[in-house]
Amino acid sequence: MQTTLPVLLTFIMGMFMIIMFFMPQLGTAESLATRWTTIIWGFAMALGIDSLLLNHFRKIRKGGTQAIHSMALIVAFFVTLIWGLYAWWRYGNPFDAQSSFLWMFRYVYLPLDATMFALLAFFIASAAYRAFRARSMESTLLLIAATIVMMGRVPLGGVIFVAFFIAFMLIVGVYFLYESTKYIGTDRWIRLIVGLFFLSTIVPLFVPSFAKAFANFIPGLADWIMQVPNIAGQRGIGLGLILGSIAFSLRVLFGIERGYLR
């Protein structure tokens, strides 16, 4: 009973929403769903506060330096809550233009939120440095697509891209030529040819008009990647995951999948 009844409720609600969707004359199913979930969410918030505060009261009781931090958390929670409620009562709306709650929003909440968000600029650099290594075909494609799009979006990006293209080909080419001196016979010839191939790719770039055309080509290429392969990939993944979500949702509605509940 402790499982069957909830599963039955899931089934009934799911079917109700599906029927409502096909009979829009009854009302908008989506807005009803949002309304319901939001109100229930409001009550469930009591559990959230319960969990957060009790956890930190426990930590305060344990003592140590953690107690200070937990105390700060609880004080911050109540100061914000009471301030917000007071402003709501005093100005009719906590976010009224005159409301003092905006001070707290502007000078406490906003810098914290924005700085946490801004940390992404650092992490994106370190993640790119670590992950974009040409170790397999997959990671090479990831690397190439990312660098082209990245450089296609800033002024002079194409020029920088060309500069690094030349530097990379030069280093690899010279390395092969150097290696070839250590070998004899076919091994030497292979390395010599490979080295010369890499070097030859940069020769046309010494013609200024060609180098310029190549640099100007990068932003267009970046746009093309965003509009063609990127859209194709997103659409393919998207279609697959909707099908997956339908099958998963049917498993949930018919009680075949109960892992989330029991």
């Binding site: 599906i18 969707f21 096909f22 009979m23 829009p24 004359q25 769903a33 979930t37 229930i40 969410w41 469930a44 918030m45 009591a46 559990l47 959230g48 506060i49 319960d50 969990s51 957060l52 009790l54 956890n55 426990r58 914290l112 939120d113 946490m116 968000f117 940390l119 992404l120 992490f123 994106i124 370190s126 993640a127 790119a128 670590r130 992950a131 974009f132 990831l142 990312a146 997103q234 993944i237 998207g238 279609l239 697959g240 995951l241 099908l243 997956g244 979500s245 339908i246 099958a247 998963f248 949702s249 049917l250 498993r251 949930v252 075949i256 999948e257 892992g259 989330y260 509940l261 029991r262």
Partner: protein
């Protein structure tokens, strides 16, 4: 005659008139805003056209238009005249009304009397998918084995929990930001239960910071039940399934704090993530944890792929709970997704071929017909 010209504004114009369709007539109604008005004239135009027709004048604030053509949408406007007959001012155009419409003002047709016509293709698709679903469900129940290829990300879960045990470190499970009404989160809770079972066997801590109170509720239930099923209800610690905050970056800050202080051996990111994904995944990397991510958020997948050891991409996330359960009946239903995929592929190939032929003037009608079959309208 330019209707938008206002000679002298001594009168306050009528607001937008309200229009109502009743028995094939339109009732145009407006409220009196200026007492100095001597008469009103009502004008009409068809939607998308600029031909304005005067349909009558009155001193009242209501007028009935009986000269409508079905299938056309009309807009109405009221011109108020001042005392000297040459001073007038126009209202805004009304909402469009069309003869076929119902009272609510939306055009609607029905199939079988009750099902909205524009949504009927969705019903066909759903019934078809439902048929496939139950067909393979029954096949699996009757003992037909259905093959599922290996999913590296899911096999790695056991490995990650195992490694965490060897190192004597806790396991952290991070939820995404959507609530329990998102199938992605429901799937994540099912995965959480599987992890709870594994963790209970090895007696290490499982820490679950939460963003959404409803997910908190489900997580408590799932972890408790998982540990009960593993025969170790004593391992369950209520305080480890904790709530943090409902704000995106506050949550990320809290999770980062947990990651750097608990130094988990394995971290799982499961659910629907937004920009905070990389903040947390990079932190997990820096503390030396194995991290496994799973999300259907296409925009965040690149960051998980860059920062995590294993990533469940899109649909794999939904197959996860069936795959992990090793229950042949659940696995069987995955086959229905695959068959639907083949059908969509076929539909796109046919569509493209028809589109190509239509370019060269061959069977254009067929292409248009085929296209309408797949078009659902009405938001």
């Amino acid at each position: 005659m330019n209707l938008f010209l206002i000679a002298q504004v001594f009168i306050i114009p009528v607001n937008q008139p309200s229009v109502q369709l009743e028995d094939g007539r339109v009732i145009i109604h407006w409220s009196k805003v200026d007492t100095s008005v001597t008469k009103y004239e009502v004008y009409r135009k068809a939607e998308g056209s600029e031909d304005v027709v005067k349909i009558g004048e009155t001193t009242d604030t209501i007028l009935i238009d009986t000269t409508l053509k079905p299938g056309m949408a009309y807009l109405y406007m009221v011109r108020s005249f001042g005392p000297d007959d040459s001073t007038f001012v126009d209202s805004n155009w009304s909402q469009p009304v069309a003869l076929k419409q119902e009272k609510q003002g939306e055009e609607r047709e029905y199939v079988l009397g009750i099902i909205a016509k524009e949504r009927f293709p969705v019903l066909i698709f759903l019934l078809f998918f439902g048929f496939l679903f139950f067909y393979y469900y029954n096949q699996a129940r009757m003992g037909k084995e259905i093959f599922i290829r290996r999913l590296a990300g899911l096999d790695a879960i056991d490995e990650a929990v195992g490694r965490s045990t060897e190192m004597g470190k806790p396991v952290v499970f991070v939820h995404g930001l959507t609530s329990l009404d998102d199938p992605n989160t429901i799937s994540a809770v099912a995965i959480l239960k599987y992890i709870a079972k594994k963790v209970a066997m090895y007696e290490i801590d499982l820490i679950v910071p939460n963003y959404d109170p409803l997910v908190l509720l489900a997580s408590k239930e799932a972890v408790k039940e998982g540990m009960l099923e593993a025969g170790r209800p004593d391992v369950y610690k209520e305080e480890n399934i904790m709530f943090l905050t409902t704000q995106q970056f506050g949550y990320a800050a809290g999770v980062n704090g947990i990651l750097v202080r608990e130094k988990p051996g394995a971290t799982f990111f499961m659910g629907y993530f937004y920009a905070e994904s990389l903040v947390m995944a990079e932190t997990a990397y820096t503390v030396g944890s194995i991290s496994i991510a799973g999300t259907t958020a296409i925009t965040q997948l690149p960051f998980f792929i860059a920062a995590c050891d294993y990533t469940l991409i899109g649909e794999e996330m939904y197959a996860a709970s069936a795959y992990l359960s090793r229950n042949p009946v659940e696995i069987g239903t995955i086959k229905s997704e695959d068959v639907a995929k083949i059908l969509i592929i076929a539909a796109i190939i046919i569509g493209s071929i028809l589109a190509t032929l239509a370019q060269f003037g061959i069977a254009e009608d067929l292409f248009n017909l085929y296209k309408t079959l797949w078009t659902v309208t009405g938001g």
